[in-house]
Symmetry: C2
Subunit: 239 residues, 2 copies
Amino acid sequence: MIFGAILAGGVGSRMGEDIPKQFLDIEGKPVILYSLEKFLQSPRMDLVFIGVSEPWLDYTRELVQKYLPENAHRVHIVLGGSGRNDTLQNIIAAIDKVRTGDPKDIIVTHDAARPFVKLRMIEENIDAALQCGAVNTVCPAIDTIVMSQDGVTISDIPNKLLMYYGHSPQSFQIDLLKRLYSTLTQEEKDILTDACKICSLRGQEVALVKSEYTNLKITTPGDYLIAKAYVAAGIHLQE
Amino acid sequence: MIFGAILAGGVGSRMGEDIPKQFLDIEGKPVILYSLEKFLQSPRMDLVFIGVSEPWLDYTRELVQKYLPENAHRVHIVLGGSGRNDTLQNIIAAIDKVRTGDPKDIIVTHDAARPFVKLRMIEENIDAALQCGAVNTVCPAIDTIVMSQDGVTISDIPNKLLMYYGHSPQSFQIDLLKRLYSTLTQEEKDILTDACKICSLRGQEVALVKSEYTNLKITTPGDYLIAKAYVAAGIHLQE
């Protein structure tokens, strides 16, 4: 089975607004709906789980009923945890209750604040996860990447041609991810918020799917401006 | 002496427009004017050199006369080279003809397509270059940075807390940069388009100055949208 996992547990403190960024409005529709609709467009997607913080549970349920009444039976709302990892673990626990247990069952995880994911990326994530076990969606770095151990002087400037920005979706064979996660110490669980990094650290091959620069994560008020400009320009409609 | 070096040699092929991105209009003013004005605001800046490709030489001279007639004597237009390094070398050659030769003479280099540099960054670049010899302007990475040797699978996900996006200005003691550049092989000159990387490779300490996310480089049509939104929001007026 194939499951979507939209991570919407964030409370959006960096935006300086009352509403978490995944619930901000863009032309009459909350940000989270843009990616949720794309996930539901995938014919292979059995169910999409959304992890949200407690105060937003009912609101998210209402959004799904309002915008996607015909698909509401394919969407499950789950209580998120205190961080990204916890939210993902809560979703996996909820998935475990409904899945048949095929070792090739796939979870396609996605940031709720990345509204411009394309169906093509989701499909390629599923294909690559079935084949390789773990997948990240990335695009080549635009800026030179600079490494600094102390934040004061440069330690290294790695070859830019080898550097990518890590976006989402990130996809995994569920049993594989659970197995790797169970090997983490508590300290590692606190540090490792990126599930692909967990795979990489434990020697699990992670395949790359091509992202696009438009697949931005809304983090700052500037990003929100960009996202609104993208919707005005029809970026969300591009295949 | 302190010299500005605005690198405007690019021809903007990635924008899919006829006009290089540094000459695109934002609210009645070409992109390059935004950073040029900031450079001229620095009281320590003796002269600002602009390196442009041959077809844009006269146009750039006219822009300076039109928008900055009272400061035109502080601006020198220089023919750019085929790449970023060549343009920088042409500017350094032109500076060598006017400078007194103080070993602490500084060059503050900047991308013409980064209109939202702040005077604060320029001043901190000068201070740090006087002290350390080489400076990069950077901000903490937003996306997880992923390294891939083959573009197919992940090789490494370095610790995000140590990763920065390299912006500009980049500043150098001129004699130091010339000395390091003279040690490069032709192959290295072709590969190393980033002067801070040249310093880093040769063991020269490079200090960091804090950039901001708004200090974006206009590379794609989406960036141009953002830049116009930033000007509409008054970002270019912020100290």
